[in-house]
Every structure is written in C-alpha cells, then in structure tokens.
C-alpha cells in the first residue's frame, strides 16, 4: 500500500483519513509535533519548511509502521517546491536589512537552503542514502514523477520518501508526501 500524507495550514490527512486538530497555520505544526512526536526538541529551532517536512515525514513513517531509526542507505529523500527556502530567507534578511540594527543570525542563516529539511529527516531517521531538492515553478505531477523515477537509476535506491513541500511564510504551506 502506498502511504501518503497531506498537510496545509488547515488540514491534515494521513492515508486519506483526516486527523483531528484544534490549531491552524504554524500552530498546527506544533500541535501535531506535541501530539504525535514529542521527543525531538530540535523541532523548535527549525524554520517552517523544516517543521512541515519533519512533521509530515514523521506521520508518514508512523503510517508505514516499519521499524524506525535503523540506519539504511537504500531510501532516498527527494522533495520539490516552488519557493525554495523563501520563509527562512525572509527571516534571515530581516536580521541584516537595517544597517542600524545589523545582527546576522547564524541560527536563521543555516535554514536558508531548501535541502536542509532533507538533512533533518536523514539525521532523525539515520538515512545515509540520496537526499535531494528540486525547485519547479509549477506543481507539475508529470515532471515530478519523472524525477522520482530517475532517482531509482541509482542501484542503491530501493525506496523514496518524496513529494511536494512548499512554504511561503509561517501560515502558508503545503506538504504532499508519499513513500514510493
């Protein structure tokens, strides 16, 4: 069975079933973290894209039901989006915008690359395989499927945790991930 997770600021679905929640937007991600994960304080350092990817992948992997945290090299993590790391970029820019208040933040800068979320997932799950991030101007199923199929050309890769993971600001985001 192919497992799927879908998260927007107002909705959470795992394998087609809606999950109950009280909060919306960024608060929804925190609610999901506390309700379903809870053992990873690094979550609170993450930017919104990473929080989204982390929570979505955790729900997905819980749905998969396979043993967790066993090192493996045969699972790739491949994400797509339109806005790269825009939310993190905007947050970092704010720390350098005003010459009178110029304090570049390393904690903010570290998230100004979209692939960081693939790293967070690899660290959490001990995935030593391929991690990749592709930016597309449009959500294009055909192109994404082609890229995901391409990833299987690496003979080591037997499974992909992948999909669309986008975020423009703290309250506007979308995740559509599955395990292929």
């Amino acid at each position: 069975m192919r497992h799927e997770v879908y998260i927007t600021p107002n909705e959470v679905k795992v394998d087609g079933k809606a999950l109950n929640h009280k909060e919306n937007g960024a608060a929804l991600l925190t609610e999901l973290y506390r309700a379903h994960i809870g053992d990873y304080p690094k979550f609170f350092k993450m930017d919104t894209l990473c929080k989204l990817g982390f929570v979505a992948s955790e729900l997905l992997l819980q749905a998969e039901g396979a043993p967790r945290f066993e090192p493996r090299e045969d699972r790739a993590v491949v994400f797509f989006n339109r806005n790269a790391s825009l939310q993190a970029d905007t947050a970092y820019q704010a720390t350098i915008q005003d010459p009178e208040n110029f304090f570049p933040s390393p904690a903010a800068f570290v998230y100004t690359l979209p692939n960081i979320v693939t790293g967070e997932i690899a660290i959490r799950n001990k995935y030593f395989g391929e991690t990749s991030f592709i930016v597309l101007e449009d959500f294009d199923e055909k192109t994404m499927m082609r890229e995901l199929q391409n990833a299987f050309q690496d003979p080591m890769t037997k499974s992909i945790l992948g999909g669309w993971l986008d975020c423009t600001d703290e309250n506007h985001f979308e995740a559509k991930l599955s395990i292929i």
């Binding site: 304080p41 609170f44 350092k45 304090f103 570049p104 933040s105 390393p106 904690a107 570290v110």
Partner: protein, 85 residues
C-alpha cells in the same frame, strides 16, 4: 548579578529556541555545552551574536567562546565586566 543571570537565562531561551524551558529550569552553574542543554556549534555562534546585540560585547576570536560560555554564571560574570550597553 542575580537580575543579570535571570535576564540572561531568558535571553538564551529566546535566542536558542529552547521551547518549554523557563529560567528556573536552567542551573546557572551547569555546563551549557556537552551534556545539560545539549547545545551545538550553531548555538555557540548565536550566543556570540547575543553578546553583541544585547551587551555590546564583540568577541575578537570565536574560540574565546569556549571559555566564556562554560555556564550561565561564567557568562554573566564576563558580561558584567565587559558590557558596553
């Protein structure tokens, strides 16, 4: 000094996104790095920014951080002696 220690704890919690922690939860004499709060290299860099932003202290050599950030007490002591804000 007690005020400074309390304020510093609040600032550290905020700067390092230590959600769910209150100043009362941090032992000012406990190691900040290594065990304890489990801070990493990026946290150390962020503390350097905190020193400059809130207290006007510019560390010339980032390696000085290892000594200064040993604990909240050591940090507070250094700040009280070197602050320009």
């Amino acid at each position: 000094m007690d005020d400074l220690i309390y304020t510093l704890k609040q600032q550290i919690i905020e700067a390092l996104n230590l959600e769910d922690m209150k100043p009362e939860d941090i032992d000012e004499n406990a190691a900040l790095f290594g065990e304890g709060l489990g801070l990493d290299s990026i946290d150390a860099l962020e503390l350097i920014v905190l020193m400059e932003k809130n207290y006007g202290i510019k560390l010339k050599d980032p390696n000085q951080g290892k000594e200064i950030f040993k604990s909240v007490s050591v940090m507070a002591d250094y700040i009280s002696k070197n602050r320009t804000k």
